[in-house]
Amino acid sequence: MTEPYVRDFQAFASNGAAGAPPWLREIREGAIARFTALGFPTMKQEAWRFTSVAPIAETHFTLPGSRRPQLALRDVAALSALGAGPRLVFVDGRYEPGLSSLAGLPEGVQATSLAEATRSGPRGELARRHLARYAPWQDSAFAALNTAFLADGAFVHVAADTVLAQPLEVLFLATSGTAVTGAGGPTVSHPRSLFIVERGARATLMESYASIADGLQWTNAVTETVVGEGARVELYRVQREGRNAYHIATTQSRQERDSYLGLHVLTLGGSLARHDITTVLDGTGAELILNGLYVLGGSQHADHHTVIDHARPHCASHEFFNGVLAERAHGVFNGRIIVRPGAQRTDSKQTNNNLLLSTEARADSQPQLEIYADDVKCTHGSTVGPLDQTALYYLRSRGLSPETAQSLVTYGFAAEILGRMQRPDVRERLDRLVRAGLA
């Protein structure tokens, strides 16, 4: 099942991608070797107990051809999570300068394609120092496959003490081979992002994923984020791909001393979604808010595996994931918290609440604490259950109809997560997407 990808890789490496610098080519070679060695995960592996990627493994997804769909700026605005403002737009992982708009970015902020950023020069040096240094491509077949096909993607660099006040969006649009060309099989894209926010800088970033066509498609994304000393980052991520999309994602962040990262994850789309999030608190006094919501219906399946790695003392992490599951949807949450030896005074809190709106909906929730330090405060809790009848009755006793009461209690699950998003403008946009998802 891995062989077709190895053949595709050989073609990819000898054709268009051959112009990449040697260091990148070397990483790719290593990555395809790791992919071959690891193979697609199976449900026999603990981390994949609840999620079968057989539909992906059993299909050969090819790289999209050179034909591109014709997109108007108006279409892009409708697919963007923010609707307006500066953005980098990618179609099947490839940068589309004509659809992007970078007006108004302050000095000290570089936003460009990875193809551009990995060329030689000082920028190339920056990319080389960070790219593929954090994402676990040695251990994850999907991250390895993405890295093997790494040619383009988003590159955002915010220089030290720079303030990026307006949210910057990185928008990845996925096409489907058949829908675009009218022929050929399903396609895969490997979106890649590298966000570097240097010491003392502030930034709000949005990473969003949407589909252009509703055909069978696979997105295999990897994002690496570095938050420098004392920097403050709000990173939003919205996945609202089509109902025939497979979405696999690896998000890796590294925080330095006294930094703050608010990572907000919203999963609405895809028929099969798996998101591995690993955040490393790698400097004293760092603070993380990991705030996620999945709203699923039909026969959607979404699996979030999060790892919060407290590598240094005096760090705080607060993780909240809520799930709203209707019809036959299946939500999986696995939250691992690691407190390394010496990471004293760690303050870590994790909760995962799941609301089942039908008897056929299902949620699996697994917390995992691995604590190797003694002076720490760690709490976790998870719930899975139907609508609270007492809450519904309470609302009805105040005059609300049963339907309004139900939609309010349901929306409350989402609102808890939305309420933690610090940017009111972004929150409002996402609130609209969530309401549409709940309707």
Partner: protein, 260 residues
Amino acid sequence: MTGKGKRERENVLLEIRDLHATVEGREILKGVDLVVHTGEVHAIMGPNGSGKSTLAQVLAGHPGYTVTAGSALYEGKDLLAMTPEVRAREGVFLAFQYPVAIRGITNAYFLRFAVNAIRKHRGEEELGPVEFMDALEEKLKVIGWDDSYLNRPVNDGFSGGEKKRNEILQLAVLEPKLAILDETDSGLDIDALKTVAQTVEKLRRPHNATVIVTHYYRILTHIQPDVVHVLSAGRIVKSGGKELAVELEEKGYDWIREVA
């Protein structure tokens, strides 16, 4: 019928006759009779587990209780045939003994739904967010709260006393015709107790009525009840003026139980 008798009939807001109710197959209310006229304040006292909350919840329409016999007329209409939301829109309000948390939904957001549901029912125009907030600010002052409580999820993480105050805020905002307060005075500090009393007094209008379920004489010194009832083992076993509350405070319930 004499003139006085006729007037009294017209002034009946709530008329409960021989009400029996069960929960999980167990009979809790065993024939309750109670008539509340407009303009009156009634107090219901009685031992733990005697059925006071059951009565209150049956009147509000809790789906967990089954009425097996008897009737309850509200403004001459069959209250028991109405859904909980219709009862609320018709002007019945129950301040819960144990208020329920609604996670993720702020007090302000929730209250606007409640107010507009009732306004719509009355054929009044619904309030927009701005008008509503203006109206709400006033009520907040009445109960001595600042805005911060409006932006917190309904009763979520509220202290016991805060939950009770939140019920009073809802009472003040919704201005019901029939308010039933189930131990709203329990767990309140002295100032909050006065606020409850003041809010009830403010609502005391010729066309309204209040039923206060309480264990404490204290609230009744602030709110002068017209009638005091004792509910014991699912029936009202004694009714009297406010002096009955004084007597209960001194003697407890045993002497009445024996009578019953």
